[in-house]
């Protein structure tokens, strides 16, 4: 418990002071990317990790929100209104996704979400009058909440950090709540949950909305970060990438998706500067994770840590005569 609190405090201090010790603007930007992708991964983890519903269409939702925000700004709306509409469009898209895909679970759910994601990608690519097609949409400015211009790298990082911390806190509260427990129950024994009086479909639907909200929030940070959105963002590879963040870090854990997001973003942006075949490296890392820690980096490391700890205490006990330390 204390170890955990201590680790969280250290992580918090590291994040808050990051722009002061990080070697340059480029790396602060990488940190911002990690944080908003982490929010995206948290959102997918609600379904894939806690709900047992693997979605391969989340990039579509992400993209719809980003396009909606970008388009509203192009129409001349202010930032607050554009963000609000972006969130609402993202949530509405998620509700439609959920209504269609919650008719099934397992492979069926994966295939329906995949198909919906592809439809949105096709629309982004072909509905040129709205999306600009291959050319995408550009955003001219970033917002200036309370007079802090997000055009500044450090300010943008802090804004992202605040949103990330709020999202992480919301996730923590949800997982510990009765609704969170009910969602995990529907993942493990849907039939039993139904017999116990739970509305399995509705629980899953609410989980979808929560997942959609986090996805939309991360999409808005993304679109302000890149100030550009193109169909590539909605492609199947983007959906797969965020799913890999969740699985490699540890699906169904709080920290897993954050660690997974850090891993993928660092390899994609930083390591790719040194190694041309970074995709190959990322693949090799995933294979290694699946073989060595199939439950993901966070739970896997925790398991190894416990193992090492037990060995050490046993070793210490055997040195000190150990006769009375039987357990």
């Amino acid at each position: 418990m204390n170890q955990r609190v201590f680790a969280l405090i250290v992580a918090f201090i590291v994040l808050v002071t990051l722009p002061y010790w990080m070697a340059g603007v480029y790396y602060v930007n990488v940190a911002s990317q990690i944080l908003f992708y982490a929010i995206f991964a948290l959102g997918l983890n609600v379904l894939a990790g806690y709900g047992g519903l693997v979605s391969l269409g989340h990039a579509g939702l992400f993209g719809v929100t980003a396009y909606a925000t970008g388009y509203m700004l192009q129409l001349g709306l202010g930032h607050p209104l554009a963000i609000l509409i972006g969130l609402l469009v993202g949530l509405a898209a998620m509700a439609i996704y959920a209504a269609l895909s919650l008719r099934s679970t397992g492979i069926g759910f994966i295939m329906i979400t995949l198909a919906l994601g592809e439809i949105l990608w096709g629309l982004a690519y072909r509905w040129i009058s709205l999306t600009g097609g291959d050319n995408g949409l550009s955003l001219k400015t970033r917002p200036e909440p309370f007079g802090f211009s997000l055009a500044d790298t450090n300010t943008f990082y802090y804004a992202t950090l605040i949103v990330f911390l709020l999202s992480f806190a919301a996730m923590t509260v949800f997982v510990r709540s009765p609704l969170g427990a009910a969602l995990m129950g529907t993942r493990d024994q849907p039939r039993r949950m139904n017999a116990l009086g739970y509305h399995v479909w509705a629980i899953r639907f609410y989980a979808c909305l929560f997942s959609g909200l986090l996805t939309a929030v991360s999409a808005i940070l993304f679109v302000y970060y890149t100030q550009f959105i193109s169909p590539q963002t909605l492609a199947l590879t983007s959906s797969a990438e965020v799913l890999l963040m969740v699985i490699s870090g540890g699906a169904g854990t709080l920290l897993g998706p954050v660690v997974g997001a850090a891993l993928v973003v660092v390899v994609k942006t930083v390591v790719s500067g040194f190694i041309e075949r970074w995709n190959f490296l990322l693949g090799a890392i995933f294979v290694a994770i699946v073989i060595l820690m199939p439950e993901g980096l966070v739970p896997g490391s925790a398991r190894l840590w416990r193992l090492a700890w037990r060995k050490r205490t046993r070793h210490a006990a055997s040195i000190s005569g150990g006769a009375e330390v039987k357990s």
Partner: protein, 245 residues
């Protein structure tokens, strides 16, 4: 008013008639045993009563209220609880959490995304008390995966009982248990108060006969014999279809 009334209930899967014109009337507080050879349609009848399957025709009444079209999750709220032939529990969680989920299922708090479930004292106390009754309080915090089959059976019964059911459906509660475990579960079931009506499917006649007051014999989806314990056991058709001697 009967606890459970079934009128002309029919269900077929394709050409297979698994439930054919079943009529059943269980009085409040009664202990009813349903027997029949494998494939007689006993579990299907349970699934129809709990609403996991929808009947082709006929009706089901719980305490005088027609529930034929009521979704199965609502039936739990109307006072129906069940256990499964194949134990169906939450293996990743502790025993206590399993029972807490049963309690939460009937509480409006199950929709709450903000409360901390571990700090809801009344749920935890209630769940502990239920585990006390089935003799599992001392291992309440053990993960379910580390419990024995007999303990899991008792967890299932504890979960059903915490919901304060008016009608309890037990699908082979003694299956797969050792002699000692069987004795424990039997004592547990005998201790259930009379305001709970119990319908039980069971093959293990030694324990089940002692428990049941009335017995219904199903064969190929039809009720063949029904009556008191002595009547059914003495009936030649029971010997022919079920007891086999």
């Amino acid at each position: 008013m009967s606890a459970l009334t079934i009128i002309n209930l029919c269900k077929s899967f394709g050409g297979l008639h698994v439930t054919t014109n079943v009529n059943l009337n269980v009085e409040p507080g009664e202990r009813r045993l349903i027997i029949g050879p494998n494939g007689a349609g006993k579990t299907t009848l349970f699934n129809l009563i709990t609403g996991e399957l929808t009947p082709d025709s006929g009706s089901i009444q719980l305490l005088g209220k027609d529930i034929t079209r009521v979704p199965s999750r609502r039936r739990a709220h109307l006072g129906m609880a069940r256990t499964y032939q194949i134990i169906t529990l939450f293996a990743r969680d502790t025993i206590l959490h399993n029972v807490t989920l049963a309690l939460l299922g009937l509480s409006p708090a199950r929709w709450n995304p903000l409360l901390d479930l571990k700090r809801q004292g009344h749920f935890i106390e209630h769940a502990r008390a239920a585990l006390e009754k089935v003799g599992l309080a001392q291992i309440a915090n053990r993960p379910l995966a580390q419990t024995s089959y007999g303990e899991r059976r008792r967890v299932e019964i504890a979960m059903a009982l915490t919901q304060n059911p008016k009608l309890l459906l037990l699908d082979e509660p003694f299956a797969g248990l050792s002699i000692d475990e069987r004795r424990d579960v039997k004592e547990l079931l005998l201790a259930i108060p009379r305001d709970v009506t119990i319908v039980m499917i069971e093959h293990n006649m030694d324990v089940a006969l002692e428990f049941a007051e009335r017995i219904t014999l199903l064969h190929f989806g039809e009720v063949i014999v029904e009556g008191t314990r002595a009547e059914v056991v003495a009936d030649p058709r029971t010997r022919e279809v079920y007891l086999g001697h």
